[in-house]
Symmetry: C2
Subunit: 249 residues, 2 copies
DNA sequence: CGAAAACTTGACCCAACTCAACGAACGTGG
DNA sequence: CCACGTTCGTTGAGTTGGGTCAAGTTTTCG
């Protein structure tokens, strides 16, 4: 990895949206040894049950999702990650991994030594704070998902997920002009919101018929953002995208 | 707060289940200024939308739950906390709180200055690690709840929650001999697993009729732990109760 | 160009919800 | 200590949102 590493600068870029970093912090990150790795769609990036690997990876490009399996064999996608997200923060400090992470699109990850990252987090306060914010935002999103799956009907769940995507993609710097390319199959959408692919299909149609969205293949255009917000009971608060602006303690 | 504070030693006790602490770490914790506060059932301990308070509290005794409200007015309980749990880790580093925390039983909390706790976490590696583990376990439980609510039927959801209670109560050192006092109403149970109180009632009856549990009022006895585990598709892995035993990096 | 995967649509079904009424426990004040 | 209101729990009857099954159609990709 060369000295002006564009890979680790992705990590810096992300952490800077979580907390302010000083020059030394950035230097420490850039000094981290890391390995670039590629995965094809459906490949497992993190596997359940395994003792945590000796490294911790974050996404340089592409999308990936975290899933758990129920005894019945059905699957629940519990989170979706994009450029800049850490994939196994859990395994940075926990002894077991209790879920899988799978590539959704072709994914490039940067693997950082577990020990090196732990040391960084435990020794540099600014980086620690940024990582804390990141982990806590993760938790906040999980809570919103529990609400989404537990207390909203099909239209609400799907609309909410689509709204979340729109904002997260924008935040991750992906092309987005009033619409975006849906990164997953309807089966996977269903697994994310606790519905069947069949019902996701009907729900998308219903949203389209109502003029809230327009669809062409996987391409999605928001025709009525406020309408979607209303149907999905969506408020961006839980994404905590505004952590840095207000100078914080 | 006297020098051999039994309140802050509760915090030490909890953190020691998350990572090893040295004598200096314990001393630093005991030196923390803190205020004891009491809440009656249904009282709000943390309120949504508010900018985070200047302090951060953890539970000394009693139970509390975290909830979010949907637009429809329905409620989702996203987590339940007992002795030793931090109540607003999120607000330790985030600028907004997007949920409420309410007392379930009479609750005593210890309030610790936000800044003081931040400094502690950012300056003492062993404490930082323990807090990290705590936060990451929290996240792990949320993921399991997403699965529970998204992909299990009523019996599975309720059984799973009852199993989780049993283990968490034992871990928190509450009396438990094959059974325990259910700490919440059937309405609240329903709000935790995404069901109606009516259906929770029927589900409990069904579990009892099958000989898996016995109920008397709110008192619950597990007659068939393995059966409950099977119905609830329960594996304790996600609770990460074994963090400390295996000497970890 | 052919096979597999993803998407659509229809018909039917069932788990969980709603509505409603009643009984049991609990707390409060007289 | 008892009367009484309120909350909690229980049960029934009827409804419905979303699941299941199944058959097409379109897209993707090798």
């Amino acid at each position: 990895m060369s000295s002006d590493d564009p890979i680790l600068s992705k990590m810096i870029q992300k952490l800077k949206t979580r907390a302010q970093l000083g020059a030394e912090d950035c230097a420490a990150i850039l000094a981290l040894p890391c390995v670039l790795r590629s995965y094809e769609p459906t490949a497992y990036i993190v596997s359940e049950g395994a003792h945590p690997k000796s490294h911790c990876s974050f996404i340089v490009s592409g999308l990936a999702f975290r899933q758990k399996l129920a005894a019945s064999g059905s699957r629940q996608i519990v989170s979706i990650h994009m450029t800049g997200d850490f994939l196994d923060l859990p395994s940075l400090f926990l002894n077991r991994v209790d879920h899988n992470v799978q590539a959704l699109t072709p994914v490039q990850t940067a693997e950082i030594g577990r020990k090196a990252l732990q040391d960084l987090v435990l020794s540099r306060p600014a980086i620690a704070k940024a990582m804390w914010v990141d982990a806590l935002v993760d938790g906040s999103i999980f809570r919103e998902w529990v609400l989404n799956v537990g207390r909203r009907d099909a239209r609400g769940r799907v609309a909410h997920l689509l709204c979340e995507f729109a904002l997260k993609m924008k935040a991750a710097g992906m092309p987005e002009n009033g619409g975006y390319e849906l990164p997953m199959t309807q089966k996977q959408l269903g697994d994310a919101v606790g519905l069947t692919s069949v019902h996701v299909n009907r729900t998308l149609r219903s949203l389209a018929e109502e003029g809230l969205i327009e669809r062409d293949r996987r391409h999605l255009v928001f025709k009525d953002w406020d309408g979607m917000r209303a149907v999905g009971d969506f408020s961006a608060l839980y994404l905590h995208l505004d952590q840095v602006e207000p100078a914080d303690a």
